[in-house]
């Protein structure tokens, strides 16, 4: 059996906080604290959770935008978390990213043509000048932007069009995996639908795998194959779409889903209203990290940390309620 496209094993990223007179590093933000998952070729895995849960940090660790604290990131059977810069270069081509804010992630001084040509040149994908031109115009067709727009600069486009340029830039490198970090969150409803549809078409057309990082659960349900729910640097539940949305097992997943207001006036719903706020990732609670807000908390949760266990068809949950005592 071929290995999964991406494998993440016990990933940790602790950011030091400088404290004290001489910048002694005495405390850490435990942004990601032991996360493991896999993504198959052509699959969409969504990472969901609230601000500060570490979902974006996981995305950035996979892109190797910083060095990780410990763990492994394996792309197609090869470790990339400690790969040498020369091998890393080829690996970078295979994993691309689309960021949330299309206003700050495109260079305002570059023309669209140059934005798209840069990755093609960098990775030596074009055989000739003509080939480069062919590729750049083809990318515009792929993301459904007019070819005349190649000579314009990012400020001349609307938010949705800029996001199309960002997607075209990611596709330029011919990647196998695209990390979409809140890629549709900043867009207006009608434009969001356009971009979601585009991403789904591209996935089918190019067999792309997507790591879809989002806090919008309705969009996630619409897009995804599998979902991993994060809370304070840990995955609390991971399962195929059907299981997550029809039969969530972790109390946090249940609360998260029940909190989403439905666009149906008078809909019968009983939201589980969690008390308080998410604790600080600098000093996460002992035991289960969710125990301070969990409606079903009992003694064991305060002292012992639950591990992910399989509870059903590819459904994994980290909760003591799911374990034999």
């Amino acid at each position: 059996m071929s290995p999964p496209l991406l494998q993440v094993n016990d990933l940790k990223k602790h950011f030091p906080i400088n404290k004290g007179l001489f910048g002694r590093k005495s405390e850490f933000v435990y942004a990601v604290d032991g996360v493991s998952f896999e993504i198959a070729r052509g699959e969409t895995l969504s990472l969901v959770g609230e601000s500060g849960c570490g979902k974006s940090t996981v995305g950035r660790a996979i892109l190797r935008l910083f060095e990780i604290t410990s763990g492994q990131v394996i792309l197609d059977g090869q470790r990339i978390d400690d790969a040498h810069p020369s091998t890393m270069r080829q690996m970078r081509r295979r994993v691309q990213v689309v960021f949330q804010d299309p206003f700050s992630s495109l260079n305002p001084r570059m023309r669209v043509r140059d934005i798209l040509a840069e990755p093609i040149r960098n990775f030596g994908l074009a055989k000739s000048k003509e080939d480069l031109e062919v590729r750049v115009t083809a990318l515009m067709d792929t993301v459904r932007l007019p070819r005349e727009a190649l000579n314009r600069r990012p400020h001349e486009f609307s938010g949705g069009q800029r996001q199309r340029i960002g997607i075209a830039r990611a596709l330029a490198a011919e990647p196998e995996l695209i990390v979409c970090d809140e890629a549709v969150s900043a867009l207006d409803v009608s434009v969001k639908a356009q971009i979601v549809n585009l991403l789904q078409d591209l996935q089918r057309e190019f067999g792309l795998a997507l790591l879809f990082i989002s806090h919008d659960l309705a969009i996630v349900e619409h897009m995804t194959h599998r979902v991993a729910v994060m809370y304070l640097g840990k995955i609390v539940e991971v399962a195929p779409r059907r299981e997550i949305f029809a039969a969530p097992r972790h109390p946090y997943t249940k609360a998260l889903l029940s909190a989403v207001p439905l666009p149906e006036p008078g809909a019968q719903r009983n939201p589980i209203i969690l008390k308080g706020d998410v604790p600080s990732p600098i000093n996460p609670p002992r035991g289960c990290r969710f125990h301070t807000r969990c409606p079903f908390v009992f003694d064991r949760c305060r002292t012992e940390e639950p591990t992910l266990r399989v509870v059903g068809d590819e459904q994994w949950v980290a909760c003591h309620l799911e374990e034999p005592p």
């Binding site: 601000s51 949705g160 069009q161 979601v196 619409h222 059907r242 909190a259 207001p261 439905l262 706020d277």
Partner: protein, 329 residues
Amino acid sequence: MALLEVENLQTHFRTPGGINRAVDGVSFHVNEGETLAIVGESGCGKSVTSMSLMRLIPEPPGRIAGSIRFAGKDLLKLSDREMRAIRGNDISMIFQEPMTSLNPVLTVGRQIRETLMIHQGLDKQAAEAHAIGMLTLVGIPEPKRRVGEYPHQLSGGMRQRVMIAVALACNPKLLIADEPTTALDVTIQAQILKLMLDLKRRVGAAIILITHDLGVVAEIAERVMVMYAGRKVEEAPVAELFRSPRHPYTQGLLGAVPKLGSSLAGTATRLAEIPGQVPDLRKPIIGCVFAGRCALATDLCRQYAPGLEEKGPRHIAACHYAAKGAIAA
């Protein structure tokens, strides 16, 4: 009787590229104790409408015309001094970003006290006691300690609770909430929405809720007004609007939002797209504002702007073909 009646509101801004007609002839009313939602996408004029009601538009470059009658008075005819007596007292406002709308160098207690001392003439002790009472009302734990803290010491959800406490301190008749939960996480959003519903029941203020989130609208609004490109295109009671939207834009908006549970119901289909983009408001728009993106548009739409017409009980829409559109949907 209507608490607020807005007639032909026009808020225009002078810009280097021409006059921007951010709000272009919008009329609506809000009854006492009622919740009206104003829905639309960025640039549709919903926030400018709310800022105009509070007369918070800098003039120039802005210019507000029309009339805004609140409890019998035309707010646009009041002096600055008279307007100040209304802001924060009879009409108050909650903004999207609590970090930028609270003063970072004053304690939260002082910020609540300030409105009470200015508008209600309370002395410091009475205002302090009332401030603690307000913090308790909005569900802030340990209000006696929190009253002496600064905004940066509170989480996002707590700051929004403080904003609500400041806004409600003087028992306003009208509360304008501009994207009150957009910056918050969903579990915190659920807390704040529940709080707003509870407080509304207890305090009885009318609310104008400005949002782009149709889920939030369905949750707390009674009536909805849909705006597009500075104009009102549809208005109806909330259940009626979601059940039978008449304007093609409203239909598009509702179709573009995936619903939670769609994968289970087997209704997960391709999202409806509204092609194209919002028109440039600096150029005069002839005909219907939505014509450029509408599947039903004809030459009639491109030449004559449709007026708001009755399409059902308390249901109005501005579309030449609205009846047809309802059948097509």
